[in-house]
Amino acid sequence: MSTMVANQKGFGAKIWDYLTTVDHKKIAILYLVAGGFFFLIGGLEALAIRWQLVEPMNDFVSSGFYNELITMHGTTMIFLAAMPLIFAFMNAVVPLQIGARDVAFPFLNSLGFWLFLFGGIMLNVGWFTGGAADAGWTAYAPLSTTSPGEGVDYYVLGLQISGAGTLIGGINFLVTIVNMRAPGMTYMRMPLFTWTAFVASALILFAFPALTVGLFLMMFDRLFDSGFFDPSMGGNSVIWQHLFWIFGHPEVYILVLPAFGIFSEIFSTFSKKRLFGYTAMVFATVLIAFFGFMVWAHHMFTVGLGPAANSIFAVATMAIAVPTGIKIFNWLFTLWGGSITINTPMLWGLGFIPTFTVGGFTGVMLAAAAADFQYHDTYFVVAHFHYVIVGGVVFGLIAGTHYWWPKMFGKVLNDKLGKVTFWLFFTGFHLTFFIQHFLGLMGMPRRYWVYLEDQGLNLGNMISTIGALLMGVGTIVLLYNIVVTSIKGEKVSGDPWDGRTLEWAIPSPPPHYNFKQTPLVRGLDPLWVEKSEGRKGITPAEPLDDIHMPNGSILPFIMSLGLFIAGFGFIYQKYDLSWLIVLFIGMGITLGAMLTRSLKDDLGHHIHKEDLEKEEAGE
């Protein structure tokens, strides 16, 4: 078997294998590891933030460093932790759920990952060259365009590179879901995680270009002296805000919709019921995405757009509560009448419902423009978005980690430790962020390096910091769980949860061709359909035959490396034009790799029928 072969290979060969892989399951692991790593970094930054705020006028870090911390915390968490972790599960699960052997563009899939990784590294290089980005994750001009040093340049180029990776990943999943579904897998039979992956990818496709342009303009302003955001040249800094939020608001739904999908799978599996109101769930997902594009200015209520714009955007924003509510109630009614097992993944799901609901409610409160004049840029907003992002996205990702870990690695994470993680993290979370609503209302703006004594903010901040530490402990337990399970955990079957969807119909971890024979899908929750008819496995749609697979390639890695190198050229040419050489070398490497790719036919290889048969007999 392929995994056996990999085991026999040396360490170097294994690394080479991962550098060149185009297998979506391995790319999923790469995303999981890299995203998890960045989550720890972002979490560490969060802890530093909280530690600075533990008491008034603290001097744990300097103001400049604090600003770098919040900027990098926000940017890292959103772009380098949450997004890639979502991509990890999309890669690990979506092709399996639709009964596909592969994604539509395996090569581009790998390119997407390496672009993200090199972009992420680029973003963090600033730490070592005299200061990371310090203009907030929103990088409002002119603060960002006038920020000295190279920190913001790294932000711009890092995001540009990793953003390209994300866009590529998004297109890959769109096409995979459109074209690669197994026979019988109609759109309205797709599992909800696949649906949300599809919709989130569409959001990526339409939202990221706005960010791309915004970043280009910012790069031109910072590195090539153009005047887009410079009032003294007639520029206008509000353009950046529009571009950023036209991207930024859909981005939050890009994050949360797949998390919704994960919970839909979990609720349905562990209450042993099909999803209540499937059609409405799909419809609500699409509706959220659609509205998501028309509300961006709710981040700009205080910019001075005028009452007409503010009112329109307020109402449009509130409208999103309706489809989201539909989802909440459908989940509750999925549980209703079910046979509910409360294990770790389910526990995260059950923690999610009240938490996200509160976060959504504060969102609607923020949407009331006249009240947002008070909330805006205070800790009330910080509380809101951590409730939805941590309570929605991070809970979802951790739930997904526990749920799909056996599928990805063949072992179940320890349930006891999982529950310990949950309670620590959950308690810590509410301690940290609930109180922040009040801090905000009591007059604490966000992005404050220090707060003054005697302003009634001390106790709240202290509680908040204690909560953050608890979350840290919870995270460490999770890490411990992963280590222990990897060393000692027992191998499990392909279907440890009595699952309902196709990914549970094949061994864990799946062979690299996923399905020996393409499955025939005969209804929603296809595996459940088969089980309820007394069959063990899924009905195949075709006789056993040769399987066509793509070849691995190092080119994606090289292309991304080239852009990474070029990034330095872009930045440092502002001091010394001889750095242009680096730019050209980098671009040359990338273009060369692209040319190689297009000139060399790559037709993939076949796994022969005979080998598959032998394998079967061997089992």
Binding site: L167, N179, F208, A210, S226, F228, S598, L603
Partner: protein, 206 residues
């Protein structure tokens, strides 16, 4: 059956670009990509519209734009769109030679367009001292039109690479989708130009 046989059937099907799964994937994926590109250019157009009067006492669009050259450029690009349609027509008829010839004409027209654009920029920079750094308007103008120009360059390189690469091999089911999406790209460039000449140049002199 080896890949070679699959990709070079005796009879080419009448939609060679979509005959294989890879082809279908490319075809759909590329259209989706164009959807994203639309947003990209819209953001640039929006920025241009927001800044087109921010001339910072430098030259304004009325001072700069002359319609003659733009008209010629438009004709060149529109015609090149038609010639690439001819190329695709011959591709579908499995007439590789004619396809290459028409693509060659397309590339020639594209190069002529590019030449005009370079001349135009040169003229603005040296004749009017109107640069990327003159004003927010200058930045927005060169960025929007330059992004389009960059697309033209990329499209031309893409065509040329395909033509050279496949000159000896002829058409097959592996490269037909590549030709097809390259031509889609070329049309999209034309779509963007239609808006550029309307919004930037025509509205700029009004």
């Amino acid at each position: 059956m080896s890949d070679h046989d699959i990709l070079n059937p005796k009879e080419m099907p009448h939609d060679p670009e979509k005959a294989t799964l890879e082809g279908k994937n490319k075809f759909i994926g590329f259209w989706f990509f164009l959807g994203g590109e639309t947003v990209l250019f819209a953001s640039l157009f929006g920025t241009y519209l927001a800044l087109r009067n921010s001339t910072n006492n430098g030259p304004s669009s009325e001072d700069l734009f002359g319609l003659g050259l733009v008209f010629i450029m438009t004709m060149l690009l529109l015609t090149s769109s038609l010639t690439s349609v001819y190329a695709m027509y011959h591709m579908k008829n499995n007439d590789f030679k004619k396809m290459q010839v028409w693509l060659g004409i397309t590339v020639a027209l594209g190069l002529a367009f590019l030449g005009c654009e370079i001349y135009e920029f040169y003229h603005y920079i040296h004749g009017y001292e109107f640069t990327f750094r003159s004003s927010a308007f200058g930045s927005a103008f060169y960025t929007l039109v330059g992004f389009h120009g960059g697309h033209v360059v990329f499209g031309l390189l893409w065509f040329i690479a395909l033509m050279i690469r496949n000159a000896k091999r002829g058409l097959n089911l592996y490269n037909a989708p590549k030709y097809y999406i390259a031509s889609l790209y070329w049309h999209f460039i034309d779509v963007v130009w239609v808006f550029i000449f309307t919004v930037v140049y025509l509205m700029g002199v009004l």
